[in-house]
Subunit: 348 residues, 4 copies
């Protein structure tokens, strides 16, 4: 089976992963409307491609928070990579480094952040965290991440409680006994989502800032109001995200929310987006609408499920090639040439 596009990896993962694992990765909240809308919303956007521009030398590099990446696609934080591939997040980190891009490691990794750092020394890595009821535990994680050379902290804002994912309830999903949420082992005897603190507010950003010199990126913003609050509270970046449609169902598709957030932010901080990226041209659309970079979630897991580090590199390479080609066919030779002039919203 030739792996030509990302849906080939999806089909592979669906076929070869245990059903309970596939269901967990694929799950959306409730009716999965938002999960599916993330993809459909991209399809409703039309390009306005320009012709006869010199695209003989293509430069698809960009920078996020000052660090160069080889193309504007990073790895979004998702949990439990060992469910997809034995080496888990260590493979993910290696693939991201090999492809010259950024990996956001999740708190809910099945490797420790120290293992992840050791697997891909010198690479660009951010660390994703929740704020726990036990603030000392969160503080410890922040300090370990900073010590291990992670270069950004991604605070997930959209999970005061876990969304209702019907298949996971039906399947009684839980980590198999031989896997652990290792980052939290030292801090808690038992890892439970309910250890997350639903009383977190914007003021906790200040507390977080007091713990670290790392830039803080807030993940899960979908409205102009919250984008404005994020900027005012001094974050360095915003990831427009709906947690892959796994939290509140029937919120907006992320690509639809992006323009609103970008407009509110007015360039004061960087804006990124995740959710629904399946083709290089989706990346081009996100950048044209103002994103500095996109992050992929499920496609990275499919790549891992296919062939671990190598499979994830395949996924990234396909996106890279497709992105470069879309740029050229739209008439852009450099990322800086991408802009809203490339976009025409579909009448449908």
């Amino acid at each position: 089976m030739a792996m030509v596009c990302l849906s080939d990896f999806e089909a592979y993962a669906k076929k070869y992963l245990p059903k309970i694992v596939w269901d967990y990765f694929a799950a959306g909240a409730d009716d999965c409307t938002t999960r599916d809308e993330n993809i459909l919303a991209y399809k409703r956007i039309r390009f306005r491609p320009r012709m006869l521009r010199d695209v003989s030398v293509m430069d698809i590099r960009t920078k996020i928070l000052g660090s160069e990446i080889s193309f504007p696609v990073g790895i979004a934080p998702t949990g439990f990579h060992q469910l997809a591939w034995p080496d888990g997040e260590k493979s993910t980190a290696r693939a991201a480094r090999a492809m010259g891009t950024c990996y956001i490691a999740s708190t809910y990794s099945t490797c420790t952040l120290e293992e992840i750092a050791a697997a891909a020394p010198g690479s660009l890595r951010w660390f994703q965290l929740y704020i726990h009821r036990n603030r000392a535990a969160s503080q410890q994680l922040v300090q370990r991440a900073e010590a291990m050379g992670f270069q950004g902290l991604v605070l997930t804002a959209d999970l005061p409680y876990t969304g209702k994912r019907r298949d996971d309830v039906r399947n009684g999903f839980r980590l198999p006994p031989h896997m652990k949420v290792k980052n939290l082992e030292r801090a808690f005897e038992v890892c439970k989502m309910s250890l997350l603190d639903p009383s977190v507010t914007w003021n906790d950003i200040y507390w977080l800032q007091s713990l670290t010199r790392l830039p803080i990126i807030i993940k899960g913003i979908l409205t102009r109001e919250d984008a404005e609050l994020a900027v005012r509270h001094g974050v360095q970046g915003i990831i427009v995200s709906n947690h892959g449609g796994r939290q509140l169902d029937e919120g907006p598709a992320t690509i639809d929310a992006l323009a609103e957030v970008v407009e509110a932010v007015r360039g004061r901080v960087e804006v990124y987006v995740d959710g629904g990226i399946r083709k290089g041209s989706d990346v081009l659309k996100a950048l044209a609408l103002g994103a500095k970079c996109v992050f992929i979630g499920r496609p990275a897991l499919w790549g891992l499920a296919y062939k671990g580090e190598e499979g994830l590199q395949d996924v990234l390479r396909i996106l890279q090639d497709e992105f470069r080609l879309s740029m050229a066919l739209a008439g852009c030779a450099r990322v800086s040439e991408i802009g809203q002039h490339l976009i025409q919203f579909s009448k449908l």
Copy 2:
């Protein structure tokens, strides 16, 4: 089979109820366009969820006409509950009481209103009525309801004649001989819909008010003009309803009509809505658009069909949990924080 969401109960009821009963409960008028639109219209509405609000203590209680209910979901009036469960409306009344919410008992119950009252003493109950050609019969029902402690009268306005439900015509639906429309036994020798009076007008509200001190809620309003008339005629509440799509087909979905009615009413009376509620987030949408409370019809019958009183409690508990979670994920800790700012109509 795990009962995870309301459609699980629907599937159960469809599988285990006699076809003629399922068809009767499921029936919509003509092409069933409005019945189905009630559901589809909710799916077209998008949330604008807010992040990093303190949702650690959730309070989902509300009040309708001054009475507190544990969450803003009541039981809409539907007929013939014995078709779903032997104890019929007595089970319904008990489940509503157990869950701390309001039950609107139908004139077309298979238990008397006295039996219903006795089954759940002290609970919040309203009584639904039609105006009969024989006004004395209606008067008697009003007085019995008031005597039995029902706390509101719900006048159904959208049934001067019964809608055309093709499956019921094909099936020759009628109540089995061992069931009776008991509320009407004393008043009529034979129960026929045609005993309803199609000459009823707004002035009959005054007549109804002259019979009782109970608040009057009018059910079946879909336009601003009728909402204004309802307020002027002194009703205490309006239920935006299209009778579950069983009367005039191709009228508006209730959630689409709600905003228009709420705007016309300008807070002078309470507005409720029924039709198409299938998830906790639907409740949140209805409240965000101005409803004080929603009422469920068919899902209550599915719950009864599953396990009687207990099954209906399951249905209500799922809605309650889903509603609480949706609120939290949208950034609201109290019902009073829900508002139109949470809503963005989908471009689709």
Copy 3:
């Protein structure tokens, strides 16, 4: 099989008519987009029903060109009724009379207009005609129709050439040898569509007026410009029609064109509509948008195919009952109460 709604008759006809005949009746031009749009466009229109109006006494009679009909549904001109039922147009005429409505007999009938007149003496009938290259033949038809007591002349304007109906081409459709286009037998040796005159213009209306004192109704108008021309040329009525989607494919659905024509006409002549009527509520929509009456084409043929005169009466009676019920449920007791206030175009 209970005949509950018009699609039951459609299913019957599809099952029992010879395929070539079914295909001929069902045919639309090219991709059949307009044929299907005629129906879909009705489904996109939403009612704004009004409550608590006295609908105890329903009056659904109306008048067209001064003649009373029992309800606002007539029979549109369609050809070759013997293909559906041995007695052909004689049965159609009898059914229309029995139901107290108007029948527009087609030039392309398999009975002569004299036979049709004799089958239902005293009934309201109009005669549909084309203008032939041989004007004497058209003149003769006009004079026979007037002599036989037809009370209106319906000039079809949308068939300078016959539309391309793929199935008819594939099937090689032609009348079986034992049937004849009897109205034309005297005038032509062979009946061919190509005898129709594609050079006809608005001035030919004057010529037609010079031949007869009958009112002239023009059929096939879809734009405000042509509606204005029709009024200026002195016609008495306009039938908004696209020939059942059998002529130019991808023109407008008739119910979508109706409002434009009604607005242009400003009450100077009566406006009718055909195409896509399948339920009583469709009739209500057409009247709410300004039609004085609707005409049914294919459903009449399905009725004939079911049981001849009796079957067509069944079809008309169902439409009558559904129309009366829709009116009542929308809050109208008389046809004169129907108006644009009942309509809300769907957001979809």
Copy 4:
């Protein structure tokens, strides 16, 4: 099997061509969204047909760049006709001449342009070219085309790199060894797309003009900005095209882009369109929106696959008949009567 409409030829070709060839002709880029939108966009456009105009004498001829064609449908440049029929482009040229229309021969023909010219002497032919890295090769092609009597040069602007057509990648599509891209044999040892020059800009139009007196038509324009640039750089014509959806996926359907280009051009040069033409009424829509002529790509290949020259004539004759009939049914007797007044964009 009767060949009644173009989809009959499509079905034939799909059934009888080798899968790899069918896939190559059918291929669209990525998800094939734009390929399919080209067709769907036509279906969303509604006519406003006019009645009672004299359409007894129909004249469907038009002129492109001063040359008369028998009806406004030409043959778009597509590659590798020998894959469809042994005689390849020679058959195409003969069919176009027989039908009195224009054939745009592709650089990627399997016959030389000399063979094509010899096959249909005296016919209206344009030559399509890319600009190669080796400019001398392009220059030679231009000069050969001019010498062989081609009357226009069509510069394809939308292929700096080849689009990603997944099926071709999966199938490993390449020309079978016994076929050659003959036009390029003299210039290159090996024919590779990568010989195309992705550094081409608008200034290269001037270089092309310096080589030839032939009019230059630019193909692949989709925006008003590029249309303006094309006019300013002195081209004689613009083909609104997205390369059949084979280059950048999720750009606009060509019929949707046409109006924008026509408006920008303001009559200064002729505008044509290709992509998605499947019926005579599509041609009428394109002309109503301002195209001077349309070009068909895949349908021509289906015609060749059916019966070579004769099959392509069948395809063209069907389009011609359908176009003439649509015009007449819309009320136009001459091409000059076609205009934007015939069009109403669908509410869908």
